[in-house]
Amino acid sequence: MSVMDRRLIRETSFGLTTKLWQISWIYVVLLCALASVGYVALYSAAGGDPEPYASRHILRFGFGLTLMLSIALVDIRFIARMSWIAYAGGVVLLVLVLKMGHGAKGAQRWLDIGGMAWQPSELMKIALVLALAAWFHKASWERMGNPLFLIPPAIAVLIPVALILKEPNLGTAVITGVVGATIFVAAGLRWWKIALGLGAMAAALPIAYSHLHDYQRQRITTFLNPESDPLGAGYNIIQSKIALGSGGMWGKGFLEGTQGHLNFLPEKQTDFIFTMLAEEFGLVGSLALMALLLTLVLGGLLIALRCRHQFGRLVALGISMNFFMYILVNLAMVMGAIPVGGVPLPLVSHGGTAMITVMIGFGLLMSVHVHRDVEFGDGRDEF
């Protein structure tokens, strides 16, 4: 880094007003825009009524936004110190959900906290990002070459992935694994190790398939040939594609989507909310929404690139990767490109706790942005 480029490293702490000024308000506006798309979609999903989805959605978003802005003001170094505590808490919650959680179709995913049902796996992903970022914050390029140094974070990834698989929740386990792996890559994992890891995964796929639950295998079979069971497991995929396809270029118009309004489309307020929108607003509308989503993903990446400390970079990258994976899995699912699994479209789908976890993530992202230039040693001294 040249002397010319070096910006002033800020004071250890700086004033609240300055911090507020540092928040990326453009990013906040984009998030509000996405939540508004969610309002419109949920208004339509309820048959042209703010009740029961849309009004609650916007209330939750208001709460989530407040939470996000509050977290944005928390010093990133304090957050870094809390990382492993958060991680430990996440693991405890995952164990608890296996012991006393509830859910559907033989899967235990939900835990009641404060009168709301939470998916600890959602919180775990953020905690994992923090923990890995904290670990690799102190990792120099040379240290990244040391296999012994990589073993503890690898275990830190595998524990939650294994616990989430046990629920079982294949979709979230895969996303968790991918997010963790992305941080490894960004932290400077050697390419040959990356190649080795990918090879090992490819080899493990058949073994993994044999350990899948029946309903998970059913999904995969149905995905490969949805017409084999048009009224059973393939129904969702077929109806979703019919809804997308019948939307055409310009869509059927707001509140005019027949597939959604006549209930042919399943789970239209949650998993299939994108389909609902695409039916009513066509390819033009769905591409516009995808552009907004991509902007938010790349915006997160930009925050990572602008950050001057490794912890912040890795957190921002991990959070934006997590957001990206949600979108990727959800969109690919409704388009019939991957097997269906209960992954919502963040900030658009109906669902309280999912939105709050996502907003916590964006809070951390914003905290990285606010504290992008703080003095933050490479950790040898502090850790």
Partner: protein, 620 residues
Amino acid sequence: MKREAKRTGVFTRRALLIGGAQIAAFGALAAKLYQVQIVEGSRYATLAETNRISARLIAPPRGRLLDRFGEPVAGNKLNWRALLIAEQTTDVAATLDNFSAIVPLADHERARVERELRRHRRFIPVTLREFLSWEDMARIEVNAPDLPGILVDVGTTRLYPFGPALAHIVGYVAPPNDADVAEDTMFALPGMRVGRAGVEKYHDLNLRGRAGAVQLEVNATGRVIRELDRQEGTPGQDITLTIDSALQQSVLARLGDESASAVVMDARNGEVLAMATNPSFDPSLFNSGVSQAQWQEWTRNRRAPLINKAASGLYAPGSTFKMAVALAGLESKAITPFDTVSCPGYLDFGDRRFHCWSKYGHGSLDLRGGLKNSCDVFFYEVARRTGIDKIAAMANRLGLGVKLDIELPGTRTGFIPTRGWRIKQGKAWNIGDTIVSGIGQGYMQLTPLSLATYTARLATGRAVQPHLTRSIGGILQPGSKAEDWPSLGIPERELHAVRDGMFAVVNDPSGTAPLARLPMPNVQMAGKTGSVQVRNVTREQRENGYKSDNLPWEFRPHALFVCFAPFDAPRYAVALVVEHGNAGAAAAAPVARDIMMDVLTRDPASRRDAPAARVAEAKT
């Protein structure tokens, strides 16, 4: 700092790489979206429409059947029924209990309701009870708060105002079976009925009409959201029959308790004015389903109420056949009207003796005398001279033993034997068979309807066909004018000789049926009696003073009478069979006379035009 720069550089490169991968993934998703929404869009659009739109049929109202004066003899009446929609009640069992308290449901009805409730989706109405009375309906409406999910709905059901009186002509309708549904999907609709007998069956295609179609928007569970398009169907056509319902009732009343049938026909055009069969049945019972007990009662009754005796009952014609024999003889020049035959009371042929009904004989008789006295020996001799094949040919020309164009499914053709038929059976035709055929006995079997047709043809010399349809959908059908029917081609001279004999039967004091003489000054009737044994009379019985009155009912002879009037200008023909009524002259002739009196007084054939025209006008 160098170390820091190294890992920052690695991070930046890899982050950009990851960003590139993310953009590529979005690009792939966008491409997939383009394929689904644009490339395959029209296919999915069609599928979405198929999902959304459900085409349903609307039942057309069934056409009515009217008598010749426009009086409905089969119509549609509103049918109030109670339906249950399961999803509108929280407790189906409680609702059913409350309903039973108002309108008692039998156990089997309740079982059926529960079965249907299990089979259908919860928003589909299940019929609890049809044909509700006004009182029941009112009680249900008053108790509506206790009956959540129950609604009273109106459909239509077939109504037969004349009930049993016209059952055999009008027929009846019944719920369609699987074969009907396969033929016309309209029959899958609730409340549809298909003609199963009589004119209801014969004209079913005209009566049923064409179903309308309605396009409904439905949701994923099949519930109707709204109506998109509606095409009204074509209602079934009204059909005007030739029947005079008032006359029909009157004829039926005159038959009393006898197991009997009578056909009244317009002799000039074959229009059937009345066709009464006694006993009869209530056709509306088939509409809602006949109970086992009722069915057994009908089928075990030896008077066979379900059989249309007029069109499907087969009887040996007996002496009523003698006109056909006479005409065959006259035409083949085997006899002339003036040839005489001497009757000593029997005819010996070979080693067999054929008895006349009068054991003292009739002495010397010509054709007129033979008919007047119904002398058997005279007709034995005519038949012997003419030969069976010529008799059969003449009988067929006169409408006997041939298929008639009557609109009643199940009508029997009857049978006139021929030499060829017997040989085909591998047996020989004996002259003795010809001789008994001369008096309408032996192998031959005929329906009262064919006897009425025969009488009408004798009276007018035209090949009229019996028919029941006057107009369909207000359009008069061919056959209602005398000119529509071709001449039989029998010389008037010969026909007159036969009619003259029939005149003598009734009007000559020494004729066989003087009781049939009309008590009217200017109108005379011509007729012929017939009595046919249902089992052979043995020589022993004959010598011991055989009297059929002493036999059990089912062994007594059938009594027949055929007649037409007025003699000078024949207009009405009547054929009457009283099963096991003994002698035609005593049991049938007076009844036939009363029927003819009734017909002549009402004169439906000449009254018909004005009202029929009014009906036609009202339709347009």
